[in-house]
């Protein structure tokens, strides 16, 4: 089943077009890797897919998805060093997307949070302070939060940008595992070789837009 269809879309801010003539689709269970130079519009595309901004032209069709069903891991989250928050509090906040008007977390929400913490191997950190974790641990926590928001599809904006090589390899492994579990992945990456090796489709933004399978990209 096709989840997302981008039909001749132009992205940008106000009158400034950043990306034009964008066509691609994302199927259920897909693993799409988006690459391109700094400023090519990768984050802009992600924000548009999330519905945080509107495309300048063209249509983005979400099939069987509400915009809030998409789990999101933002690029360099501007979270402050001294923010007092436990891992548990942060992961639980991912459940808010489904709550709408209910003020408190239910037992089911807590279960979902616990499951996702376990999935990403951070359950032992549940009561720790987020600020005191390593970069790799922090990304896992934020990924667990994104999973609470959405079971179907994840949008990851440079999830390994600030990680050391070991944590990077770890992160890629986790993401592949999630994809094998049936979660659709859209990931932005700088690290072309490693990322594309695992992806099924590649979208390159820039002067010449490329969209195709990762085998075709290498050829």
């Amino acid at each position: 089943m096709t989840l997302i269809t981008c039909d001749n879309v132009a992205l940008g801010y106000g009158s400034r077009v950043v990306v034009d003539g964008l066509n691609f689709t994302v199927d259920e269970g897909d693993y799409l890797c988006i690459i391109g130079e700094n400023g090519a519009g990768k984050s802009t595309l992600v924000k548009t897919l999330l519905g945080l901004q509107k495309p300048l032209r063209g249509k983005i069709l979400l099939n069987g998805l509400n915009a809030g069903d998409i789990g999101y891991l933002s690029q360099q989250t501007a979270i402050q060093k001294d923010f007092p928050a436990s891992v548990n509090e942060i992961v639980l906040s991912g459940c808010l997307a489904r709550k709408k008007f209910l003020p408190f977390y239910s037992a089911q929400d807590k279960e979902i949070a616990a499951t996702n913490m376990e999935r990403l191997g951070v359950q032992s950190l549940a009561d720790r302070s987020f600020a005191e974790l390593s970069g790799g641990q922090q990304q896992r926590v934020l990924l667990a939060r994104a999973l609470c928001a959405a079971k179907k599809i994840l949008l990851l904006d440079e999830p390994v940008a600030a990680l050391d090589p070991e944590a990077t390899a770890d992160m890629y492994k986790i993401i592949s595992q999630l994809n094998q579990d049936g979660i659709t992945i859209i990931m932005i990456s700088h690290d072309v070789n490693e990322a594309i090796g695992r992806a099924k489709h590649v979208l390159r933004l820039g002067k010449k837009i490329f969209y195709g399978t990762s085998e075709d990209y290498h050829a």
Binding site: L50, Y72, A85, E89, S93, L96, P103, A131, A146
Partner: protein, 280 residues
Amino acid sequence: MLETITMYLEYPFVINALIVGVLIALCSSLLGVTLVLKRFSLIGDGLAHVAFGALCVATVLHMANKMLLTLPITVICAILILRGGQNAKIRGDAVIAMISVGSLAFGYLIMNVFASSANLSGDVCSTLFGSTSILTLTEQEVWLSVILSILMVAAFVLFYNKIFAVTFDEDFARAARLNVDFYNLMISIVIAIIIVLSMNLVGSLLISAFIIFPALSAMKLFKTFRAVTICSVILSVVCAFIGIAISILGGTPVGSTIVAVDALTFGLCFAVNKFGGVAA
């Protein structure tokens, strides 16, 4: 000592002052954590100066109920400052500085030119540093502050999880379809209301200390959002209680005394964080 305290507690005005003072401390500390973490610590300061300017205008106009002017103006400025903070072209702190210094200057100027009061500097001083009006509260005012505080606490508890999400990570909250702008707007409006209502107690210069000290102290002691929020409320309430008690016993100005107690508490928390074992 104890006798003096029991003697004072027999006066209803002392009880009233304690009730209202503690309630203001409670309400102002609830959102303090959020403001500090959102790097909006100075919004309280800026708004307090705006409220001062508006109060000066109201005084000059001989308005019977000065709140009718100060409240709307302060709320509007709260919204403007917030919008400015989101606009990358003018930095948030610059907007706050502009509005706050501007209204302070205009307020004093207007008072000077138009006011007929013989005791101008006394009037200005009590607006800036709080007056003794907390000791002359009517029963009606006490009830009003009790009701407002209950509403405030209830709203905070109901929206607690959303306030956390919006404070921690606005982008994610937006992606999760929370109405981030609405919550930011509500936070500013509530802060503006608290500032106007508590100006009588601590005065406009000291109100932001009232908002941020308990939050900063609590952040020295605890590392989770819930613990920090609860701790800052408790610290704020206890400090206000002690401050008011000291000021009644020692005849010191109420606002300054409370803030002095807040500052000492912060020093204590800082020392505990630095040299002692830190609570988890």
